[in-house]
């Protein structure tokens, strides 16, 4: 298989890589670029652990070919905190103990951030439906929802 040469931007930095035409964005992020924050929970779009944004849209990176992101802007969990300063969602997840094992957390944070950018004042039901594609098996979602609602409130206040 002939490799493709892709130019893209990841978390604001330009990135360049070679990939197989059938490689997923997730596998390139994890195995080539050492961005292992996105996880492969299923590889079939069902769990959301691999969530990233491409040109501002929330997607499952296991269902995106790396070849498709030529010229695109990608953000991952690694780009969420600014230096030492955590994003309000990250802070609220810690404060609300919204993670147990934490493997779903990067995907949920990326998804929740995409929600709050679109809708700064979501209802609890809206948060639950927006996050329905992010499976968490540990928490029962309760504390996750609380953390998102609280972060939204704080961000609206700020």
């Amino acid at each position: 298989m002939k490799k493709l040469h892709i130019n893209t931007s990841i978390n604001g930095n330009s990135a360049e890589f070679l990939c197989d035409p059938d490689a997923t964005l997730l596998s390139v992020l994890r195995d080539q670029l050492n961005l292992t924050g996105a996880k492969e929970g299923c590889g079939s779009g069902d769990c959301g652990a691999c969530s990233v944004t491409v040109n501002g849209r929330l997607v499952a990176s296991c269902l995106v070919l790396a070849a498709e992101v030529e010229g695109a802007e990608i953000t991952t969990i690694e780009g969420m905190a600014e230096g030492e300063v955590l994003h309000p969602l990250q802070k609220k997840f810690l404060e609300h103990a919204a993670l147990q094992c934490g493997v779903c957390t990067p995907g949920i944070l990326v998804a929740a951030k995409a929600l709050l950018e679109k809708n700064p004042d979501p209802s609890e039901t809206e948060v639950r439906f927006w996050l329905a594609g992010n499976l968490c098996r540990c928490t029962g979602y309760d504390k996750i929802i609380n953390a998102v609602m609280d972060a939204a409130a704080e961000m609206r206040g700020a």
């Binding site: 298989m1 002939k2 493709l4 197989d20 035409p21 059938d22 997923t24 590889g43 079939s44 779009g45 069902d46 959301g48 969530s51 491409v54 849209r57 929330l58 997607v59 499952a60 296991c62 269902l63 995106v64 070919l65 070849a67 498709e68 030529e70 998804a111 995409a114 929600l115 439906f129 927006w130 996050l131 329905a132 594609g133 992010n134």
Partner: protein, 287 residues
């Protein structure tokens, strides 16, 4: 495998037509990539249509809308005018998968994947949507219901692909609705589903209707008897009963991991009745 991202329709059809092996159109990839990982699909060529001009546009046309083949569910959901005209279609598209899947999944992909359980297809069939197809011999138009021919099979010929789907204009007092049954509230494939599109006259009598059913046969069904049950009525209980009975009768479902024959027959009728009521009240609001 090769990946190509042509910028014109002509080039895309040429690539598809000339490929000696298995060539597939890549739209949102939410079916294709899953099949490549778990379904044993190994295409020789993927033709990504998202870079072709116009593929991502929703354009007004003759009082209706032409939706480009690469418009994602999320983009559809954000299109207010399309939602106002064909709310049942938009709600059906929005039911596909999660937020993440919505960021990518297309209606045309949903249609061409040719799953009998595809959510947007019954809604499109009820809407009498027309697919525009580009191919080596030029363009042609084809009613959506004639695209899937069997599970996983379409009537598209080698080198052909869908470039857009057209949703026609409709009178004010007309609307549509789509309902599916799933065991959870999200992230499931329809066990059965129903789309209803109808037009009312000023008295609220139904003058025109199309009723479609999903996941109860090898392809989506357009049920004329069900439509007849509504036409001429004000969707009173007896008309709804007749609608339900016609739907149950038209079903030809299978027993599988997602549901039983009996369940699908029963619930299809329930969904059709509920969808008809929703379409009726939406039509009322528009008049």
């Amino acid at each position: 495998m090769q990946y190509a991202a042509p910028e014109t329709t002509a080039e895309a059809t040429r690539l598809l037509a000339d490929s000696p092996g298995t060539a597939r159109v890549l739209a949102g990839g939410t079916d294709l990539l899953v099949q490549m990982k778990f379904g044993g699909l190994a295409p020789d060529l993927l033709v990504d249509i998202k870079n072709i001009k116009g593929m991502r546009d929703v354009t007004p046309e003759d009082g209706g809308f032409r939706v480009g083949a690469a418009v994602s569910g999320a983009e559809m959901g954000e299109h207010k005018a399309m939602r106002a005209l064909w709310p049942g279609v938009v709600e059906a598209v929005e039911l596909i998968g999660s937020t993440q899947v919505q960021g990518r999944a297309t209606m045309a992909g949903n249609l061409c994947n040719a799953s009998p359980a595809a959510d947007s297809v019954p809604a499109m069939v009820a809407a009498n949507a027309i697919a525009r197809i580009a191919g080596p011999d030029g363009e042609r138009d084809c009613p959506v219901q004639d695209i899937p021919t069997a599970p996983g099979k379409t009537s598209l010929q080698k080198g052909e692909f869908i470039t857009s789907i057209f949703f026609p204009a409709r009178p004010d007092n007309a609307s549509d609705a789509y309902l599916r049954f799933i065991p959870r509230t999200e992230m499931d494939i329809a066990v059965c589903s129903a789309g209803v599109s109808l037009t009312l006259d000023t008295n609220g009598t139904c003058t025109d209707a199309r009723v479609s059913l999903g996941a109860v046969a090898a392809t989506v069904l357009l049920v004329q008897d069900a439509a007849n049950a509504l036409i001429g009525s004000k969707l009173d209980d007896s008309a709804l009963e007749a609608l339900g009975a016609a739907c149950s009768a038209a079903c030809n479902p299978i027993d599988d991991k997602r549901g039983t024959i009996e369940f699908r027959r029963d619930v299809t009728a329930v969904l059709a009745k509920r969808a008809a009521k929703i379409a009726q009240s939406r039509a009322g609001e528009r008049s």
